[in-house]
């Protein structure tokens, strides 16, 4: 299947009927609204006329383009990998928020919406006259979510930051990397992406509250705060005992034979727990010495970590990552392997579950996009459970008997995938259909540079 859009199931998106005004750009906000859009909400992405979301210009692109092109025109299809992925299923409208006419259009859109998400620097929306205190007057049940580096309050509110700074300030960087080398950030921007996820959770809760009570609210989500929220052990160890959690490289904290090791064709993850499973490892790796009682407990392995590693390495270097992974898994051990992008695209588990969605962007080409992060299959009826025994019913869940009581829904039920929009692609639809502007008015707005 190769289409501009994909909804394998015939079921509507979970958030169908929800309209989101999306004033986000770069990574954190767009991931938040991507989750809403692919769950079926109508997400109207407002982009700056002439250039759009700056991440449109972040490569790689379908063709090697240096320097990165700046979208100049309405309808521009300029979109690097980041934009393509983070903006699936959204609509694009260009709007000059500094013009009075642009603000009027935004206010009309906000009046018709349930949710606004923005990730400008704090106070930007207030200075435009479009802050929460302004917008709630237009729409008292509005949920407005603001994502920012350090939050809307506090002494670092106006500090500038990239992912590097936020990973550092949030406490995640200090504990990543080798003890004798510099603290390390993740390759992927996980602080920003995780903050976007978490903003989605908060926004869903506030939407439910608004629908129950008629009262909207403003959500302030700080990327740095989010990072501190997932420190778990590192945070609690210091809080409880005053002992600092430090960098341990690829060895698990307070563990040995627990982490990433080289193998014949790449890297594997060895997980030597629980203790009851340790004897299996000596068998898998064909090294009787690993059964030494000195290594039988977590603490024993830690005390003799270098020796354990030296005993494991010859076998690891002689075997392929997937074989090692499966040998561990078949013995009940949670082994992993360091998957490359090529591995992921070919992974038998993901393929068997029809995880990828293929979308044709036109300009950028047709690619496999990671699909629904979470699978949802709704029951057909709230009143009566599916019929019992061998009897067939109309429910899609009736294969339960054959599948251990698990419904076999489509991978993308309730998720709606469409390619990322071209710049300003949906202006006629949004201004004309949603807001009822006549064509002549739309032409006039374009001539004035408002859209």
């Amino acid at each position: 299947m190769t289409t501009e859009s994909s909804n394998n199931g015939s079921l509507p998106g979970l958030l169908e009927g929800v309209r989101v005004i999306d004033l986000t750009h770069y990574i954190s906000g767009p991931y938040c609204t991507k989750l809403m859009a692919t769950l079926g909400a109508e997400v109207i992405k407002i982009e700056r006329p002439g250039s759009g979301d700056p991440i449109r210009r972040f490569g790689p692109f379908a063709e090697a383009l240096t320097p990165a092109p700046i979208p100049q025109d309405e309808g521009s299809t300029v979109a690097g990998a980041w934009f393509l992925y983070l903006n699936t299923s959204k609509k694009s409208l260009t709007l000059d928020l500094h013009s009075d006419a642009g603000k009027d259009i935004l206010r009309s859109l906000v009046s018709s919406a349930q949710i606004v998400v923005e990730n400008f620097a704090p106070e930007t929306m207030d200075k435009l006259g479009l802050g929460y205190s302004d917008l709630e007057k237009l729409n008292p049940s509005l949920v407005m979510t603001s994502i920012s580096n350090y939050g809307q309050t506090g002494p670092y509110r106006d500090w500038k930051a990239t992912e590097l700074n936020l990973y550092a300030a949030g406490g995640l960087m200090y504990i990543t990397g080798e003890p004798d080398s510099e603290p390390l950030k993740e390759g992927a921007p996980l602080a920003q992406l995780g903050a976007g996820q978490t903003a989605f959770v908060a926004t869903m809760g506030a939407l439910m509250h608004a629908e129950d009570t008629g009262h909207g609210q403003h959500i302030d989500l700080s990327i740095a705060d989010y990072a501190t929220n997932i420190l778990e052990n590192a945070m609690m160890q210091y809080s409880y005992s005053g002992e600092e959690y430090t960098r341990v490289g690829n060895r698990g904290y307070g563990r040995a034979a627990w982490g990433i090791y080289p193998c014949q064709d790449g890297y594997v993850g060895i997980i030597s727990g629980p203790d009851t499973r340790w004897p299996e490892i000596a068998g898998i790796m064909e090294r009787e010495e690993l059964s030494d009682p000195r290594f039988a407990s977590r603490n024993g392995r830690l005390m003799n970590a270098d020796e354990v590693d030296a005993l494991m390495l010859p076998w690891l270097l002689d075997h392929d990552k997937v074989d090692i992974f499966k040998a561990g898994q078949e013995a009940g051990l949670g082994f992993g392997f360091v998957a490359t992008m090529e591995d992921i695209l070919e992974m038998e588990q993901l393929t068997a579950r029809n995880y990828f969605v293929e979308l044709d962007h036109g300009a950028a080409g047709t690619f496999k996009y990671p699909g629904a992060p979470i699978r949802t299959t709704s029951s057909t009826s709230s009143q009566s459970p599916p019929s019992q025994g061998g009897e067939e019913s109309a429910s899609p869940l009736t294969k339960g008997g054959a599948h251990g009581g698990r419904p076999q829904g489509s991978a993308q039920d309730h998720w709606v995938y469409r390619r990322a929009p071209h710049l300003g692609e949906h202006k006629e639809e949004i201004l004309g259909v949603a807001l009822g502007h006549p064509a002549a008015e739309i032409a006039r707005l374009r001539d004035q540079g408002v859209i």
Partner: protein, 433 residues
């Protein structure tokens, strides 16, 4: 607390106050999902087994000196004093129940019948072996939302395999992209797979609860922790298809910005993270590091030049930062408009004025631990701010409350359950990974 009344009368304004979650999940991914729901007022009933309690509580008989316990002291009931467990279960109820007897299973059936959500992250198929599938649970509660979150989902050739957050960092490609230049992949200091899945699941679960309210339909939510992790980094999966090139391990460097690294500062293991995102920020930084000569040096005037000479730039900047305090540098650089932040460890975080001003961390009193600091609610909501309502439950702490008040079970019956070992507060064993 009665069957139909909400338990959270003190927080009657919370978004999820009318929702009850029967939470069988352990360790991190599942508990983080229900923590986010507890942060919005949901009634979370965490159910554990006395023989296999949540392994984040630690071993039944740990050595002294492990830093996860208050001052390294496990105490008489170490399972109630472990910080790793206690930071993930604030504002949740804790009960125990053994499903090995018919009596215990009858009690479980009652709990399911009054719950909106059942969530579990057992190894795939574990609950089914006990006779509980989505179909059987739906007979108890037709509009139930059932969340099953094994490592690789509930179908496919790897469905019986298991993985922890550390494994998901590897299998999702995150570890492949992380590491020092020219070296092998590196794990994160935490295990990102867990909170990523917990958060994805929480958001979709709320959307499902809202959908149920509108349609009356329950939902089966099949979570593959691996799919959840790959979905987060999908841009890199696309980038590979666009170029045919695998992502490179760049240490702290970026293809888009330079200089971009952590630099050593005065003191032991003290560092500052500096990220220059445009030419103007570079000129400001260069002025501080090397005066107008460096600021005007044409080799570094453009991103392309700075990327080409990045080793040299990192040496110059390190030479400047190495005898200065990280916090002082950040204030100085931010005044000049250069993105900079301290690389914060535990002591920095708990003393930091910004986090203090925002109330990022909270102090909560726990009956067996005393008052300690915990991560708070990861968002600020203007109308329903929420709060940490109580400390993480000790094992079986709310048995009497949940069984007595919620299920209206007579005291004699509860006592009988205790005597039969079906419920209790003292574990009979532990299984720790």
């Amino acid at each position: 607390m009665t069957n139909n009344n909400n338990t959270n009368s003190a927080d009657s304004n919370q978004p999820l106050k009318n929702y009850r979650v029967l939470d069988l999940s352990r360790i991190w991914a599942g508990p983080y999902c229900t923590k986010l729901m507890a942060d919005m007022g949901a009634e979370i009933i965490k159910m554990e087994s006395l023989s296999v309690y949540d392994s984040n509580r630690g071993p039944i008989n740990p050595a002294r000196g492990i830093a996860a316990y208050p001052d390294g002291e496990p105490g008489d009931e170490p399972w109630n004093r472990n910080g790793w467990f206690n930071c993930l279960h604030l504002s949740k109820y804790g009960i125990t129940l053994e499903l090995t007897s018919e009596t215990g299973r009858n009690v479980f059936d009652q709990l399911v019948s009054i719950s909106d959500v059942v969530i579990e992250n057992f190894r795939q198929g574990s609950l089914e072996r006990l006779g509980y599938s989505y179909e059987t649970l739906r007979r108890l509660r037709p509009d139930l939302i059932y969340v099953s979150m094994p490592a690789f989902g509930n179908s496919g050739p790897w469905q019986k395999y298991l993985a922890y957050g550390i494994g998901q960092e590897q299998l999702s490609g995150m570890a492949h992209m992380t590491g020092y230049r020219g070296e092998g992949p590196m794990k994160s200091g935490i295990n990102h797979g867990d909170p990523i899945t917990g958060s994805h699941a929480a958001g979709v679960l709320l959307a499902a609860l809202r959908y149920r309210k509108r349609t009356g339909k329950g939902m089966y939510i099949d979570v593959s922790q691996q799919e959840s992790a790959v979905s987060l980094i999908g841009a890199d999966v696309l980038a590979y298809q666009l170029t045919g090139e695998e992502p490179q391990r760049r240490g702290n460097r970026s293809p888009y910005f330079a200089p971009h690294n952590s630099y050593r500062c005065a003191g032991e293991d003290r560092w500052v993270a500096i990220a220059v995102t445009n030419d103007e920020e570079w000129r400001q930084l260069a002025q501080l590091v090397g005066g107008s000569e460096l600021s005007a040096d044409p080799r570094f005037a453009t991103l392309a030049g700075r990327l080409e000479n990045e080793d040299q730039l990192d040496d110059l900047i390190s030479g400047w930062t190495v005898d200065k305090k990280a916090y002082d540098l950040c204030h100085l650089l931010q005044r000049e408009g250069v993105p900079a932040s301290p690389v914060m460890g535990g002591p920095d975080l708990l003393a930091d004025p910004h986090y203090a001003a925002r109330g990022t961390f909270v102090r909560v009193n726990h009956e067996q631990v005393g008052e300690k600091t915990y991560p708070g609610i990861p968002w600020k909501m203007s109308a329903t701010p929420g709060k940490a309502r109580w400390a993480s439950p000790t094992l079986g702490q709310h048995n009497r409350q949940i069984y007595g008040e919620l299920l209206a079970m007579p005291t004699d019956d509860i006592t009988a359950l205790e005597e039969q070992g079906i419920i209790g507060t003292i574990p009979t064993g532990s299984r720790i990974i």
